[in-house]
Structures are given as C-alpha cells and as structure tokens.
C-alpha cells in the first residue's frame, strides 16, 4: 500500500535523481517545478474533458436515456470529438466588439481555473505547492474569474452578454462572502491556512463533516462553490432560456471551448477543495491516497451534475436573497458554534455544539420562513 500510495512522488524523485547526475543543482529545482506544472497542465484539461462526458452520461441516465455511447466504447471518445469540433468551428468576432477585451477574456478566465489546482492536495505529499496561505490563495485567485467573465460580457458589446455579465458579477460577489465565512471554522479548528495541514488535521477518519458545525459549513461551502462556478441551479449568468448564452453569447470555436474548460476545471477545483476541507482530502482506509482524493472529488462532481439534472434555475431575487439572507447569517453563526466546539473538552463539545447548531438551524428557518416560497394556492385549478 505504501508504494502505491506515493507512486507519483516516487516517480518524480526518480526523474530528479536521474537528472541529478549531470545537471547543475539549480536546474534540477527548475525541472522539479516543471514536472509539477506539466502534471497539472495535463491533469486539468483531461479532467475537464471527462467531466463533460460524465455530465452528459449522468444527466442522460437521470432522464431515462443512455447519453453518448456512439463515439468509442461507452462514448469515451466523445470529449475528443467535441474538442475537434470546437477547434474546427469558425471563430467569429463581432464587428463592434472591443477587440482587446473580447480576445483577452477567454485567456484570463482559464488562468485562475488552472492556478487553483496548484494548491489542491491530490495525495500524500502530492500538493504541487505547499503554500502556508494555500486556502486564501484559492479563494483570492477564484475571484479573478469574476473579472474575466465580466471582460467577456463587456467586450462583446451585446445587450444579452452585458446582462449576463452583470448577473455573473453580482452573483459571484454575493456568493463569495458566505463562501469565505464558511471556510473560517475550518481555519479556526486547524489553526493554519495551508490545505496540506488542513488534511493532516483530519487524518484517521476524523473528518470535519462529522462534526456538527462541519456538516453545515460543508453544505454552505458547497452551495457557494456551485454558485461561484455558475452551475445549476445558480446558472443565471448563462441562462440559456432567457439571455441566449449570457456572457459567452458572442464566443464560438476555440474561445467558447476555453470558457467551457474554465467552468469545468473550476467546478472540479471547487469539489476538490470541498473534499479537502470537509471530507478529509486524501484520507482513507485501504486505497492509495490520491485514489481517495479523486473518489471524493468525483462524488462532489456527481452531486453538482445531479443538481443539474433536477433543479430549475433560481430567479435573480431568490438567488440574492438566498445568499444574503440565508447562507451568510448561517455561516457567521456557524463560526460561533465551531468556536464552542473547539474550546470545550472532548465529550461535552459534541453535545453543546450539537445543541447550539440545532438552535442556529431553528433561528435561521424561522427567520427565513417569511420569504421562503409559500404553498401555492390555485384560484381556478382545484
């Protein structure tokens, strides 16, 4: 088990050891950096391709149909077919568009999506960079995609994309705050911002999701993550039914593929981070560490796709109300419960924290009762 656990790390050490022989030592450092960069640069797009495949299969199965099974054995070559199609499609730039912004937007939207992979701990010792501010780095870099999405919508000089851009910026800003707040309890308990030490604090099955505050913080974080990535039920910025395709209306061909890739890669990054923060990252009994991380990340992705197969799109006011009136107060109160849990000795803290959590839940539900949708009363239909 030990060998298979750190197979990649050993592989990298082998390469470095081999190069040690005839390269000056500073180039070896650069080579090791390059190896992790190439690993991420390969892993990112490949996960993105097979997430599109997974999404179409799962949503298909939910709707009683097969999903792609023509190209390749189980439709496994479908992402490659999509890729080729995207490459060969003509790349139209609107005539009145602001050329610079229109061109830069897809480029800048992919950079944060790839950068955040550097902080995710894929396995034991397999986090590309062990930043001691890793978690905050993740949140800071993911705000950059907001700016890129807005550049895309402003650059294409199109009413629909501008509407989509406005919605995207408003949504991402208002869901970022509950997201940061729901991460604070994890930092409070582990005492450090680095994702690697967060996972080490959860080793041996002591995952944060089993603690009273952790379970609800995970829900809040995951929902905000789904909203941050503009996926259903928060996919107002690219609401196909009302504003054509939102911010990427005027994009076609490879540029659209970049927007598409950024969305899926950040979806994987968010699920990876949820797995790291609340589900114990690569901690698991038998399988090698990086397998556990992938299992948990893909489980989160399955939930996101499951959302897509079920939930209708939220209205803008419901979307904003949900973030400001429900998630934010809940995340704030959760911090107090986590503090309670952290300070009290072992047996008592579960009971007290559980009770506090129950009180918090009741308070939030009572407060949110007024604007949660009432039972519909039909006047004419019986």
């Amino acid at each position: 088990m030990e060998a298979s656990d750190t197979i990649f790390v050993a592989f990298k050490k082998a390469i470095l050891g081999f190069l040690q022989g005839f390269l000056p030592d500073w180039t070896v450092v650069i080579v090791s950096i390059l190896i992790s960069i190439t690993a991420i640069a390969i892993f990112g797009p490949v996960t993105m391709m097979y997430l599109t495949w997974l999404e179409r299969k799962v949503v298909g199965r939910i709707q009683n149909r097969y999903g792609p099974n023509r190209v390749g054995i189980f439709g496994l070559l479908q992402p490659i077919a999509d890729g080729v199609k995207m490459l060969t499609k003509e790349d139209i730039v609107p005539q009145a568009a602001d050329k610079v912004t229109h061109f830069l937007a897809p480029v800048i939207v992919v950079i944060p999506a790839l950068l955040v992979f550097s902080v995710l701990p894929f396995g034991k010792g397999m986090a590309a960079v062990n930043l001691n501010v890793g978690l905050l780095f993740f949140l800071a870099i993911s705000t950059m995609s907001t700016i890129a999405i807005f550049m895309g919508s402003w650059g294409s000089r199109n009413k629909f994309s501008l509407l989509g851009g406005m919605r995207a910026v408003a949504q991402m800003v208002s869901y970022e705050i509950p997201m940061v707040m729901s991460v604070v309890p994890v930092i409070l308990v582990t005492g450090s911002l680095s994702t690697v030490s967060i996972v080490e604090a959860q080793l041996g099955g002591k995952w944060f999701v089993f603690t009273p505050w952790g379970f609800f913080a995970a829900i809040v974080f995951f929902l905000c993550g789904v909203a941050e990535v503009n996926r259903t039920p928060f996919d107002l910025p690219e609401g196909e039914s009302e504003i054509i395709a939102g911010f990427h209306t005027e994009y076609s061909g490879m540029k659209f593929a970049l927007f598409y890739m950024a969305e899926f890669m950040s979806a994987f990054a968010i699920s990876g981070l949820t797995a790291t923060l609340f589900f114990g990252g690569w901690d698991g009994p038998f399988l090698p560490s990086w397998v556990w991380f992938l299992i948990k990340a893909y489980a989160m992705i399955f939930i996101m796709i499951w959302f897509r197969g079920t939930l209708p799109r939220l209205r803008v006011d419901q979307l904003m109300g949900f973030a400001w009136k429900l998630l934010l107060p809940f995340a704030l109160l959760n911090i107090f419960v986590a503090a309670l849990w952290q300070l009290l000795p072992a047996p008592k803290n579960l009971i007290v924290a559980g009770a506090a959590e129950a009180v918090v839940l009741v308070v939030i539900f009572v407060a949110a009762r007024k604007d949660s949708p009432q039972k519909r009363t039909y006047i004419f239909a019986d």
Binding site: N64, R65, W306, G309, T310, L311, A368
Partner: protein
C-alpha cells in the same frame, strides 16, 4: 418546510438514475435506432401503396380517379389503359404518387371504393434526388395483399371479410368467370372470393 421539496425532487432523479442501471428495460426508453427498430403502431400511416391479389397485373385499382380528385395536395396522377379500339379499360396504365408532396393524410384510402390503396408502414424512404426519385411509378407502388395483411392485420381482416361477404373477387376471377365483354353485376355476386 424549507428545502424538503428540493430533497424530494433529488430523490426522484436519483431513483431514476439507479433504475436505469439495475432495471434498464423499465428505466431506459431509448431504442438504438440502426441496430434495433421501434415497432410502429398498427394504425401508423406513411405513404400509400396499391394492393394486388396474387400477381401484380390483376391489381384492384380500376382507375376511377376518385383518389386523385380527393387528394388535397394533388399528388396522385392516373392515366387509364386503353384497349385496341381506344376504349378506356378499368385498369390504370400509369399511376404515379409523388411522395415528396404526399402528406400521408390517408384520404385516398378512405375514399377508394375498390379497397385498392392503403397507407404503408415503410418510413425509410430517403432519396438523393427529390424530383425524380420520390416520384413513385405504378410498379414501385404495387404490393401484394399479404403485405397489407402483415402490416395491418385487423384492418385487412375486416376488409377481406367484407369483400368475402359481398362476394367481390379479385380481377383474375372476374375475367375467368365472365369471358363475355359485358358482365352482369348480379352474376358475380354468388361466386366465392378468390383468396381470403
């Protein structure tokens, strides 16, 4: 209560997802088209075809031109046969249906007094050239009554039963039993039908 509607909806989709794996017959509705084809319902109607009993030349159609007159898009074109003296025979020389125009409404089937034209179940009729290939001549339209029985057993059975009851025979039987030029209708009543 707040949020339980979402959970109910999610459980429905999850159950659908699992059902599609453990019990595909009930869970999956797609038919893999080229390999397996979906059985069309009996009353499914696509383009019309002409019926003949036994051999193609004793077809039921007597070129009465009612269906051509009734056809809304006017896609049926009939020229009756003429014998040596130029008299019009009760048999079409050319009977063309332009499948490109036909809207498979089935009116020709209803108005035909001689049960000669019925709607087919064949739907794989795509061609390369719309003008010439989709203009079906008589030869391509003629199909045996057995084909009609195979695709629409109940309707065909009812029509055959009616024909048997009224003693209408196929064209071949009429020719043998009435060598004289004029055939009194009364005489043809008693003879049994040529083939049920």
């Amino acid at each position: 209560m707040f949020g339980f509607g979402v959970l109910k909806g999610m459980s429905v989709t999850l159950w659908n997802f699992i059902l599609s794996y453990i019990y595909p017959k009930k869970g999956i509705t797609t038919v893999q088209y080229p390999e397996k084809k979906k059985e069309v319902e009996e009353r499914f109607r696509n383009f019309p075809f002409l019926v003949y009993d036994g051999t193609p030349d004793n077809m039921r159609c007597v070129a009465c031109d009612i269906c051509a007159k009734e056809c809304p898009p006017k896609c049926i074109y009939i020229i009756p046969e003429k014998d040596a003296q130029g008299r019009i025979q009760k048999k079409p020389a050319t009977f063309d249906i332009d499948y490109a125009i036909c809207m498979n409404c089935g009116i020709c089937e209803e108005v035909c007094p001689f049960d000669a034209i019925f709607m087919d179940h064949e739907y794989e009729l795509s061609e390369y050239d719309r003008l010439s290939d989709l203009m079906y001549p008589k030869e391509k339209l003629l199909k045996p009554v057995e084909h009609f029985m195979k695709i629409r057993p109940t309707d065909c059975g009812a029509i055959e039963a009616q024909r048997a009851a009224k003693g209408i025979k196929g064209r071949a039987a009429q020719v043998q039993s009435a060598p004289a030029a004029t055939v009194k209708p009364a005489e043809t009543q008693q003879n049994p039908p040529a083939n049920a």
